[in-house]
Subunit: 393 residues, 2 copies
């Protein structure tokens, strides 16, 4: 449908992470929240449900975001290593290979005693990663970078044209065994395998006097090959997020991202300052998902109310098309992401008509938009922004 | 999505055959029925519509059941011969070829005088089938079995590794012609063609002094090649049905089936006795469909009320996830299966939220589930039973 794209109005996609929920004493988180501003907006808007993945399937943050960014999440797969890298704020380029690393402990016969080296502290992880980083920069022309994560976790990034993800994971997933060799799983991966073997030998030497004296590797992954958001939808896009994962996901599809945003409040300021420079802004709010994951109904209600307070400021930016939704539901009752379709609000002069009065699950049932697939949303936004030509004569 | 499957809660799928309907004096069969127990359950559940096939397409029992069992009914085709066999309770194995047979009458020049041999009585059909069965057991290593149906209809089953369904039908569909030869339609079918020709010669000889002195064959079909219900969804499943067709459909996907169940009441007893041994139970109720096919509004209402009386006993089995729906609609007004989406009720702690108060078409419109494809239902059930991992990280 790319041939239909044209210039048009500016669009805001506001993602309230995990906003969809389940009832407690007959009311969901959204129903229990006092949201005068969202209510007023809902009355002027149309509602519906957004389903990031097929019915019943609970998405991780990666597929959920690809979906709301307009990419079929079953077609583009974001590997574990890439997600780990995004989660700690590592920038991933086209030819990079990201690997999830664990510090572990082996005995003198190379048998794994502890796969997590006693879950070392994050500061210890940082020290070890620095120690390795100082010594290993490059092997056979492949640039190698190490980034500390939480506790025993870290990320390795290999940058080079010939690196391959077709490598055997070295983590045997249990103690009492030797780590596996990073064997090539295809002909093209032989070079990468050799580089990784050399790297492991060097690391073994560097860590030999440490308690955490070796590493395990898994989740080899390269960024999915896909068109950028701009190529696909013709939108110069800004991503405003304050958690590394969501900055990373926005960068993955080629959105501009402001690095030093640390809170939603700072994000709102960026929105006010920058929105006019872009065709499309993706704004992310995180704490609703966290409260849901903690099973904390009241906290989630409060975070929804916190969001509500910023709605007037957001509206002042005068986007002609605004979508408010979640990347998935995170009901307090499940303490996790879930498969439940997420309420979706669409504000636009041309949105349609319905009788919805609040941004809630029950109101969404009555909504004009019905239930749409996550990756269909972008087309409705483009249409409302008058950014699409007619198909056929 | 198979990689997402895990252990979880037990699921009941209760199929009220042909339950969806059309209004008479402003009320559908479900609306006219007095159903206090279903009403109470609907209030605690969420509703929606299930569409076994694409919009407008009326399903037969085969595709309708494949769909609610989670198989894409456009991908897996159950041939006429197999359905005939299932309908009279014949067990079909992987390498079997099922054929629909008609007794017919030919003259001395082999010209068909009557394609149904005067619609012979069912008892006469049984006698003729026995006469043939006594003489023909096997040809060239292929086991051949004959099963009487109603009137002139019967079923032939060839069992052998090399049997093929690529055979020309012998029924020319009109009188005044000779039956066609069962010619091979592909190279691989030459053996089967030879076996069938020998069989026809023997049958001609066996029946030479009968009025119904020959047979016509069509609907050559083998069971669809598909993963079993257990392989596909990780569910140890029990099918409880009292009509051969539905027992057969449950068996076709590999469910356990109790053979000697003769009524819904006996089925309920089996449910109570056996449900704890299974992850998934499919329970079938037939009479609503029959009343619909007869165009008998009042009878269908009564049968829905009969179902309602068993709801408390069904609930006592303590399934954490219960779906109640039909395999298709059978409106009294059409006296046949129809294309109308079927009301769907989902009971589960995590089902969602809506304001539906009865299990009816009008209430289903207001339901949280919206309209789903038949073969999507199983994923929603698996999700509610906490039997699915998250997709992607």
């Amino acid at each position: 449908m790319k041939e239909l794209l044209k210039e048009g109005e500016r669009i805001l996609l506001f993602v309230i992470d995990g906003v969809g929920g389940l009832p407690k004493n007959g009311k969901t988180e959204l129903e229990a929240a006092n949201t005068p501003n969202l209510d007023k907006l809902a009355e002027k808007s149309v509602l519906g449900f957004l389903e990031p993945l097929p019915p019943g399937i609970t998405p991780g943050s990666g597929p959920a975001h690809l979906s709301i960014f307009g990419y079929d999440p079953l077609k583009y797969n974001i590997g574990r290593g890439i997600l780990e890298a995004l989660g700690i704020g590592v920038k991933i380029e086209k030819n990079d290979l990201a690997i999830r690393g664990n510090f572990c402990q082996i005995d003198k016969n190379d048998i794994i005693i502890d796969r997590r080296a006693g879950r070392i502290e994050t500061d210890e992880c940082k020290r070890l990663v620095k120690k390795i980083s100082d010594k290993i920069k490059e092997i056979e022309g492949v640039k190698i970078s190490f980034y500390p994560g939480k506790e025993h976790r870290f990320v390795i990034v290999l940058s080079g044209e010939n690196v391959s993800d077709k490598i055997k994971e070295t983590d045997p997933q249990k103690e009492g065994l030797k780590p596996y060799e990073p064997e090539p799983l295809s002909k093209e991966a032989e070079f990468t395998s050799r580089v990784l073997n050399k790297m492991l030998n060097e690391i073994k030497n560097i860590l030999k006097d440490e308690k955490a004296n070796f590493i395990l590797m898994r989740g080899y992954s390269k960024p999915p090959e896909m068109e950028s958001f701009y190529e696909k939808f013709g939108l110069r896009a800004l991503g405003i997020a304050y958690y590394p994962m969501y900055k990373g996901l926005a960068k993955l599809v080629g959105m501009d991202v402001i690095e030093n945003v640390k809170s939603f409040e700072e994000g709102i300021q960026i929105l006010k300052d920058k929105h006019k420079d872009y065709d499309f802004v993706y704004l992310h709010f995180k704490e609703t998902d966290k409260a849901g994951e903690d099973g904390d109904f009241e906290k989630k209600v409060k975070e929804i109310e916190r969001v509500d307070k910023y709605i007037p400021e957001i509206l002042k930016c005068d986007f002609k098309v605004i979508a408010i939704t979640g990347d998935h539901s995170t009901p307090w009752k499940l303490k996790s992401h879930s498969w439940h379709p997420v309420p979706l609000l669409l504000y636009s002069e041309y949105a349609g008509i319905d009788e919805t009065k609040r941004f809630t699950e029950k109101e969404a049932i009555k909504g004009y938009l019905g239930k749409i697939k996550g990756h269909e949303l972008i087309w409705i936004l483009l249409a409302n922004a008058k950014r699409l030509l007619k198909y056929g004569a």
